[in-house]
């Protein structure tokens, strides 16, 4: 209970920091705090593997990518805030949504499960059980996600590439340039063989 309250406070404060802090760097670091508190909540829910993944992939890889881009682009704080009326409407909407979700959660009549039974079933949410489901029940989703990741990789590389995109025209141009260069070299060699001075004469002249 104590862990839950502390981590809930941390994660809500971090989430508020994400939307209220003006500097993007501060907001991103605040989101890292939220992600780490959610990882602790995962541990309390017997999902130890997901907690580790959360810290390594989310807080480690994804947020580092975010910080990297923020620092690379040197994004400044926003100068023109959103129209005040619109902003207050968004806050009101968020409050209503939060209240509705809390009410929906609290009105649910189901009881909390017996912790001992859950612990026995999930076995600490270990990777072996997740693998069994992921490579059985979720096989299609797993393969689709693999394709998605590959597409994302290719897309990201294609998006940030500078200069003309590699294509038929460019490659043909490069081939033509290579051919021209080869022709010129061959002509040079031929000229040297036939009309030019013999190599030893050149050497002697050089001396």
């Amino acid at each position: 209970m104590v862990t839950f309250v502390i981590m809930a406070v941390f994660s809500v404060v971090g989430a508020l920091g994400v939307i209220l802090l003006r500097q993007p760097i501060h907001a991103a670091l605040s989101l890292v705090g939220t992600l780490l508190s959610v990882a602790v909540l995962f541990v309390t829910l017997q999902a130890h593997f997901l907690a580790a993944i959360q810290v390594i992939v989310y807080a480690g890889a994804i947020m580092v990518l975010f910080l990297f881009v923020i620092m690379l682009l040197n994004i400044e704080e926003q100068r023109r805030p959103v129209m005040p009326a619109l902003r207050w409407a968004a806050y009101a909407l968020g409050l209503v949504a939060a209240a509705g979700l809390i009410a929906g959660a609290l009105l649910d009549p189901r009881q909390a499960p017996d912790a001992a039974v859950v612990r026995e079933t999930l076995q600490g949410g270990n990777a072996e059980l997740i693998a069994e489901v992921l490579f059985g029940e979720f096989m299609l989703a797993f393969q689709l996600v693999s394709v998605l990741l590959l597409t994302g990789l290719v897309g990201a590389v294609a998006l940030v590439q500078r200069g003309p995109p590699p294509g038929g025209a460019t490659r043909a141009d490069a081939t033509r340039a290579d051919a021209t260069r080869a022709d010129a070299a061959r002509a040079d060699a031929a000229g040297q063989r036939s009309g030019g001075r013999p190599p030893d004469a050149l050497e002697a002249g050089g001396r």
Binding site: L72, L129, G155, L159
Partner: protein, 106 residues
């Protein structure tokens, strides 16, 4: 023992905060951060329900956690492509303000 409702309520609060962030920020990167927040609250809800239904058997308990694993991969792909688009836009416009990109809309 913490009731399931408390976790779901926390997840709802985080999701609402993320939604407000998407609505109130102008910079595309801040909108991305808020979307990450919403994805995380959905993950928390899924893990909570996996815990709630673990009594019903191993598959019911673990499939929620497996869904979180897949959401994590989708989030990684989304961030890679999204930040790539952001870098490409910033190179042309020197700005990440979403209002400056009005012609991108359908």
């Amino acid at each position: 023992m913490v009731p399931t409702e408390a976790y779901v309520a926390l997840s709802g609060v985080m999701f609402s905060i993320g939604a407000v962030g998407v609505l109130t920020r102008r910079s595309a990167i801040m909108i991305f951060l808020s979307v990450e927040l919403m994805l995380n609250s959905a993950n928390l809800a899924l893990v909570t329900y996996a815990y709630q239904w673990a009594e019903a058997g191993m598959l019911a308990g673990i499939s929620g956690q497996t869904a979180v694993f897949i959401i994590l991969s989708v989030a990684a792909a989304e961030v890679a492509v999204g930040l790539g688009i952001l870098v490409a836009i910033f190179r042309n416009r020197a700005s990440t303000d979403v209002d400056a990109l009005a012609e991108v809309r359908l």
